[in-house]
Amino acid sequence: MTASRFHRLVGAVQWMVGVAAMAAVVMLFSLDGAPPGDEAPAADNAGADVIALGREVYSEQCAVCHGPDGGGGTGPDLRSVAETYPDPVAQSFLVAGGRGLMPAFGAQLSEQEIAAVVAFTRLGFR
């Protein structure tokens, strides 16, 4: 391959990568979290024991900021959290990783406890 052809090839590769980068930016701003056709998440179909655990975890860890009935306080109102986060996986991720002023609970709560508290909040604090 001559130097001139190599130069043109590199230019073509740069254009393709540039287009791919622009496509990634468009996707970043246009995609929501739930992949199409995903099955109903387990957190929305939790049993009574899971809800009881979720209630306990919520009282101990969350109620101080979000209020005993989820109505909010220093933290936001969680009574419509299932509408704010249609995907429970995303909500669990926020609980584990923290968000803004909310600390990360991933180190102090088990996966079961996080799933339970997410389920409890999504089922309307019943």
Partner: protein, 169 residues
Amino acid sequence: MPTARPAVLLVPLGLGAATSLALGIYGAVHDPTGRGLLLIDLGEVDDAKRALTGVVVGLVIVQLALGAGLALSQRPGERERTVVRDVHRLVGTVAFACSIPVAFHCLWALGARGGDLRVALHSAIGCVAYGFFVAKITAVRRDAPSFVIPALGIAVGVAFLVVGATAAV
């Protein structure tokens, strides 16, 4: 030697700053999805990210070496087309291409967070790295003062190395 004109630097630095700011704001306000786009299993995503991050870091090191070679072998301001310069462009392009899926997953699935120092540093430098990158490729296409391109090139390389070093995987 070309005279330094502030306006020549204004566009690359402005675009770079806007890019960093846009990515940072997106990462801060976007609700992380906590899942991969194509690979649903986060373990598979981590494996893919680990491999791509390794490739990017390796290519960045090659790129810094090539850039140093170019800077030392040419007179200031000289922009003659050479095979080494084209290899430098190709390596940089491939490194950038490999970084796109990693950055996409970081921003879309994890968001920019400040939970601990590593995460905060990784989030902030990640956004700054792409700002430097945009500033560099814009400056290359303009009649920028001779010191600007190597300086931005070093900034891009170091920023990506720091991002790689502070990655969780």
